[in-house]
């Protein structure tokens, strides 16, 4: 991707995400009572975040790949289940991932 394309992506996404925030504060509250909209939007992040977890942990260059990242993800899951704070979860994942990389080559 050329540098100017990256700038277009950055600016487009910045403007779009801001307008999404402003829309919420500005639309008539009646819209909140419409379950159709509320429920769809409430569930979409779960699908996207789960997909982002899977793609970033289990794929590399378009192919399924199992490596140190999976060990790190499992460790992060355990930390979350133990109610570790956000920052601890990230440190655990980073530590286990680095260790896995060194051990497994």
């Amino acid at each position: 991707m050329s540098p100017s394309t990256v700038w277009i992506v950055v600016i487009g996404a910045v403007v779009g995400t801001y307008l999404l925030k402003l829309a919420g504060l500005s639309v008539p509250p009646a819209l909140l009572k419409r379950p159709l909209i509320g429920r769809c939007v409430e569930l979409i992040p779960a699908a996207l975040l789960a997909a982002l977890v899977a793609v970033n942990a289990l794929t590399r260059e378009g192919a399924l790949t199992v490596d140190f990242r999976l060990a790190a993800l499992v460790a992060a899951g355990i930390a979350l289940a133990l109610r570790a704070p956000f920052i601890v979860v990230l440190l655990v994942a980073g530590g286990v991932g680095a260790l896995g990389y060194v051990v497994a080559g």
Binding site: Y18, L25, S26, L48, A72, G77
Partner: protein, 248 residues
């Protein structure tokens, strides 16, 4: 007496807000580092944190770019994740009741964390205090740590790179986690949709341009549709009493 209680209440709200902002803001190091490794300049990474200021969308954007995704996929996934801020805004609009330029400014800080602390408070004064204290602490730390991460990443060796590769999926898992645990709104549906999202994304990875599988994963919400004869056109609409979670 009354006024000293009031003061301590205000102090608690400010303390909570700043505490959360500081803890979560530190996560910006991971974002700054990921962004520069994905090919953004330190400037672009900083600009995203300053002007986009919504972590999951920012991570999605650079995550898609890192895997060689198309501009459309990068912007699309950031915007799809950004839609939840719209819903937060709907909830906050009544609580904060900002008008005019204050509303335009406040919109920038409508994100997961500020919403979480704001909806906990009752009354306009404490709600605004919670919103502003968490928002300002987050904004400050998120931007400072983004710069630190972006500058630091340039000196990363392979082991630190492996650590960073491991932090990114863990960060998404940490964002997803509160939606899946006991007490979450629509927990059952959230779990079904999450599993569906993983399945769709992994199944399509070999066939689609990088990043498009993330957007396609949004189709997993269709798994949570349960049409009924009385309500058959309602798509994602929620049937009264059908959810185990608390009402939104």
């Amino acid at each position: 007496m009354r006024s000293s209680e009031h003061r301590s209440e205000r102090a608690r709200v400010v303390r909570d807000g700043i505490g959360l902002g500081t803890a979560v803001g530190l996560y910006g190091v991971a974002f700054g580092a990921t962004a520069t490794v994905a090919g953004l300049s330190v400037w672009q990474a900083s600009l995203l944190s300053l002007l986009m200021f919504t972590g999951a969308s920012q991570f999605a954007l650079v995550g898609v770019l890192a895997t060689g995704g198309s501009p459309f996929a990068a912007v699309g996934s950031a915007l799809l994740l950004g839609t939840r801020n719209t819903i937060y805004g709907l909830r906050l609009a009544e609580l904060l009741a900002y008008r005019g330029w204050r509303r335009v400014a406040a919109a920038h800080w409508v994100i997961d964390e500020t919403t979480a602390v704001t909806v906990r408070e009752s009354g306009q004064e404490l709600s605004r205090l919670a919103f502003v204290s968490s928002g300002s602490a987050l904004f400050l730390f998120w931007n400072l740590t983004t710069v630190a991460g972006a500058l630091g990443a340039q000196s990363f060796g392979p082991v630190l790179q492996a650590a960073l590769d491991s932090v990114v999926p863990a960060a998404f898992l940490a964002l997803l986690w509160p939606r899946l645990v006991r007490g979450a709104d629509l927990r059952r549906e959230q779990r079904i949709v999450a599993v569906g999202g993983v399945a769709i994304a992994l199944a399509l990875t070999p066939f689609l341009a990088p990043g498009l599988q993330i957007i396609a994963a949004a189709l997993a919400v269709l798994l949570a549709i349960r049409p009924t004869p009385a309500n058959s056109r309602s798509g994602c609409a929620r049937r009264p009493g059908s959810s185990s979670g608390a009402s939104a």
